[in-house]
Amino acid sequence: MKLPFFRGKDKIVFPIVRVDDRLLHGQVIVGWGQTLGLHPVLLVSDRIGKDSELAATFRQLVPEELRGDIVTVAEAAELWTRGDFKDARPLLVVETPVDALKMVRLGAPMKVLTIGGLHFREGRDEILPYVFLSDWDRTTLRELAGLGVRIQCQDLPASKPILYED
């Protein structure tokens, strides 16, 4: 496993797709969304669902200018492929690498996937203080890389993206 610093131009590729098991939280909303003026900020999840309590909480909490919403994986892929993200600065947050892979399989032309936070859980190994990966995560990331997606780890805009290589 190598984790070299990514040395290319650190130009942000939109939409930003972030894997984060805290979903929408301070780092995402303030650290990324408000700092970089991103919108829409979409929580991409089939699990949370539009009608859950958690969904209502997120809707209420995301500041209006970020135009937050909760969409399913299929809806996100649809928005992406039909060009809704063109000329925009969107941030898509998924809970697991698997949801990112599903989006790609549904046709989303994803170039970069950013792992922003996958925290400790039994059976996950530490890669970085904020990134712990299971075998399943690794397999999924390998498949994404095989589909031409660059995988990088980055918690905040100010920190240097670290290229993930299996």
Partner: protein, 124 residues
């Protein structure tokens, strides 16, 4: 005695309690937690593990952060726990000085009110 959980980003909660204790001396029935390095589910679990059977207040720092989301979610199972965001020193001083003599609902309202009153802006 009304229990308190102070759950924040970084070490804010720990430092806030330290500040409270320099003014009021050591406090009982309070747990300080940080969200550092934890997923949403883990945060919920660690808060729930600190709760006893009686009503309490969950103090979190930022409305929209993972501590807030976690506690709001936890309240589905524990509606007896009040959740107050924007934890600050006036809020905690109010809580620790008044929790012994106010009934729970009144305490929650008073603590919120005192926290607001603790913010005064002097400007020309």
């Amino acid at each position: 005695m009304t229990h308190a959980v102070i759950l924040t980003h970084g070490s804010l909660g720990k430092i806030l309690l330290e500040a409270v204790e320099t003014m009021l001396g050591p406090q009982e029935s309070v747990d300080v937690l940080s969200n550092e390095g934890q997923s949403l589910d883990q945060i919920i679990g660690s808060v729930e593990a600190r709760l006893n059977d009686s009503p309490g207040i969950l103090f979190v720092d930022y409305c929209g952060g993972s501590p807030f989301v976690a506690c709001k979610s936890l309240r589905d199972r524990r509606p007896d726990q009040a959740l107050i965001s924007g934890v600050n020193l006036p809020m905690l001083l109010s809580f620790f000085t008044k929790r012994a003599r106010l009934p729970f609902r009144e305490l929650v309202a008073t603590v919120e009110n005192d926290a607001h009153r603790g913010i005064q802006c002097i400007s020309t």
